[in-house]
């Protein structure tokens, strides 16, 4: 193997694999942060560190790295890079060098994020970075700003690249209504990235300008306003949830259709009403993060309605996904187990979000463990399970080898149990008043038992994820040869050899009138 051809590669598949390696490394680091936090919280008062700042840095790193370093890059970096050109029958993306630049910038971003653990005065401002704290702390806010800016720029050029690729490089005969749902979902996610990432970039730049260059964006004594930051920040960061949600739902659609050997239920509804609806509504709901932040009343009530309406497109996508099971022929290999697990986790996560859309209920629930439990169910765990499902699913394509099915299933069940122990308990004590981001819960010592239960659950969760990671490493090195299409899928990426060569196909594919990626009944 030629290392230079990997490091400086411009091939979309290798760029994708580099994204995967980087994001899994980020996942491991951020996961260790979670375990350290759970260890700290296993007793009231100091447990493994007596310095609250240390805990706050873990908390910052866990959130920032999981979202910016793991979920978004794994979904819009690895899956999009690896699958989109293959699914649309292209030999590569529109701008391969730009693609290489985006993965390199992603690594620069990861390096900056990980410097947190090696520099004096690391950032301790949470992944939200609210001023005034972020402009007066002794922590290094600039590191946070540059991490976000560089990862954001990588996302933007990646988005430009893929939107161009999907628009102009589809194989002959592959019309818009024959695209894989995953391609549609990713397209929606990239449109959201292009519109909203610049706003986040602006917001985080302004806090560093205030802190280091003497400006007064958020200084009320000179005419600035602290609330503006929160608006700019959430104007991106709520749509960021859909940047994660859309591709992971796309992955689920691919897996469920393949393992149910069935066509997607009501394809056009999923694409136009579901994905389209989410893209249209994504920018009008951010104020639900600011229900208790002192915004004017009318906008809080108005966005309560738009926030609740998000349930419509999400519900339509869920109907499409569950409907794909109807009259299917379902088998339960590891990717499918993870995907079906997500259905239930997402259901819990989505429904527990409804109270958080209601402005009056958030007066109690906001900034408690209920919120933390909810978004871990709906985004963190559902997203991560989908990423694991997708990696298992495309594992034979990427490596040409098979993972171990038995250990795959064991890993799934362990993580599934661990997840529910941790995050269900979290929501429960949140409703009872436990506030988030607490290094010490001396005023809530009645929750010590619950915290210990969550610590045990977190360890179980960690074991489950570790089994999956080890399974991949062993499978990639010594797994049985998998063949080109082990799942019997109709989708184009399975029509080439595993792993695909540079250029993907010896002769470019074209598709027939009857073909769709889900045309199972017609074989």
């Amino acid at each position: 193997m030629n290392l230079k051809e990997w490091i400086f590669t411009t091939d979309h598949k290798r760029v994708g694999v580099l994204y995967l390696i980087g994001s899994i490394a980020a996942f491991i680091v951020a996961g260790i942060m979670a375990l350290l936090m759970r260890a700290e919280l296993s007793t009231v008062g100091p447990t493994i560190t007596s310095n609250p700042t240390t805990y706050n840095v873990w908390l910052y790193a866990h959130g920032a790295v999981m979202i910016l370093g793991f979920q978004i890059p794994a979904l819009t970096g690895f899956f999009a890079n690896y699958c989109i050109p293959l699914m649309i029958g292209a030999k590569d993306v529109a701008f391969p060098r730009v693609n290489a630049l985006s993965v390199w910038l992603f690594y620069v971003g990861i390096i900056l994020a990980l410097l947190t653990f090696f520099i004096p005065d690391p950032p301790d401002i949470m992944w939200t970075g609210y001023p005034p704290y972020s402009t007066i702390t002794t922590g290094n806010t600039a590191l946070y700003t540059f991490t976000v800016l560089i990862l954001g720029f990588a996302s933007i050029i990646g988005g430009v690249n893929f939107l161009t690729t999907i628009t102009y490089m589809r194989a002959p005969g592959l019309t818009w209504n024959k695209l894989n749902i995953f391609v549609w979902c990713t397209l929606g996610a990239f449109v959201l990235q292009l519109i909203f990432v610049p706003v986040l970039g602006t917001a985080v730049t302004l806090i560093s300008m205030d802190k280091y260059l003497g400006t007064h964006f958020f200084d009320p004594t000179r005419g600035g306003d602290v609330l503006t930051y929160q608006n700019l920040f959430w104007f991106y960061s709520h749509p960021a949830v859909y940047v994660i949600f859309l591709p992971f739902f796309g992955v689920l659609f691919e897996i469920v259709a393949t393992f149910a050997k069935n066509q997607v239920f009501n394809y056009k509804a999923v694409v136009y009403a579901g994905i389209g609806g989410i893209v249209l509504l994504a920018g009008e709901v951010w104020v639900h993060h600011l229900y208790v932040s002192g915004m004017v009343d009318w906008i809080r009530v108005g966005q309560m309605v738009t926030t609740l309406l998000i349930s419509v497109p999400v519900g339509l996508m869920l109907i499409g996904l569950v409907g794909t099971l109807y009259k299917g022929s379902i088998t339960f290999e590891t990717p499918m187990l993870y995907a079906l697990g997500v259905l239930f986790l997402f259901l819990i996560g989505g429904l527990t979000g409804i109270p958080l859309a209601v402005a009056s209920l958030t007066l109690h629930l906001s900034d408690t463990y209920y919120v933390v439990g909810h978004f871990h169910y709906v985004m963190a765990v559902a997203g991560t399970f989908s990423i694991f499902a997708g990696v298992y699913y495309w594992f034979p394509k990427v490596t040409g080898r098979m993972y171990n099915e038995f250990w795959g299933k064991v890993g799934f069940w362990i993580t599934f149990v661990g997840t529910n122990i941790v995050f269900w308990t979290m929501m429960d004590i949140g409703v009872k008043g436990m506030p988030r981001r607490y290094y010490d819960y001396a005023h809530f010592s009645q929750f010590e038992g619950a915290h210990q239960l969550m610590t045990i659950g977190a360890v179980i969760l960690g074991v489950g994820f570790a089994i999956a990671l080890i399974n991949w490493i062993v499978g990639a090195a010594k797994g049985q040869p998998a063949g080109d299409n082990p799942w019997g899928s109709m989708s184009l990426e399975w029509t080439t050899v595993s792993p695909p060569p540079h250029g993907n196909w010896p002769t470019p594919p074209s598709v027939s009138e009857e073909w769709t990626p889900y045309a199972y009944g017609k074989r």
Binding site: S293, R300, V305, K327, I348, A359, L363, R437
Partner: protein
Amino acid sequence: MDKILKRLAVTSVAAAAAGGAMAAAGGAERVFDPAPGWDYLWKEVLIDISVIGILFALMTAYLIWRYRRTPDNVVGSGPRLSPAAAVGWVVIPTFVFMADDFFIAANGWALWNKYRDVPADRLEIQLESGMYSWDYTYPNGVQTQNELIVPAGKPILLRMTSRDTLHSHFIPDFRVKEDSMPGRVTYIWFLPKEAGKEHLVTCAEYCGVMHSYMAGRVVVKTPEEFKAWYETSGASAKKSS
């Protein structure tokens, strides 16, 4: 360990049960107390989402079991929807979801207005938060720190601002919080009912290193006790200034 298992078992029921009891206790004559209103709405929404969730989960589980691979079911035969059916599968769920959304939104809005409309007969107290304390100033100039002494049965309005970072004055027992920040004034109100009780105040917005230690309490006194305390400390506040 026993405690842990028990908690796991009662978890789902506990939150639902907490609601009903308090709704009935609802407060003083004309004043609508938002806290029991919160518990009532929470219970209502919880029932709503539980019903949807259980129905959906059961249906999904049934589909998974019913359409598993068997020797005479080796390939899916999902329906190809007619245009009318395809549109129906969009329009009907959309209206069902929207009906539920608007039902919840309307109830949420009504309760929201109760939270935001402060009764005219109230005690108005200034709050300045800072790293890491709650500093209250009463109308007569009395100042307290981390201890909000209030008379039972009277609506309490806090006008809040901050001298440094964001903080959030959270009183779990009264189901209310709102951020305080430099440069703006925000408010919350609540209705203390039972004299002799103390309620925890805690910070709910990450404000710095000692965030988790930023706590205080609401001390509820009888109107008479409160009046006595208020007047004596008011007199000494005047003397010292």
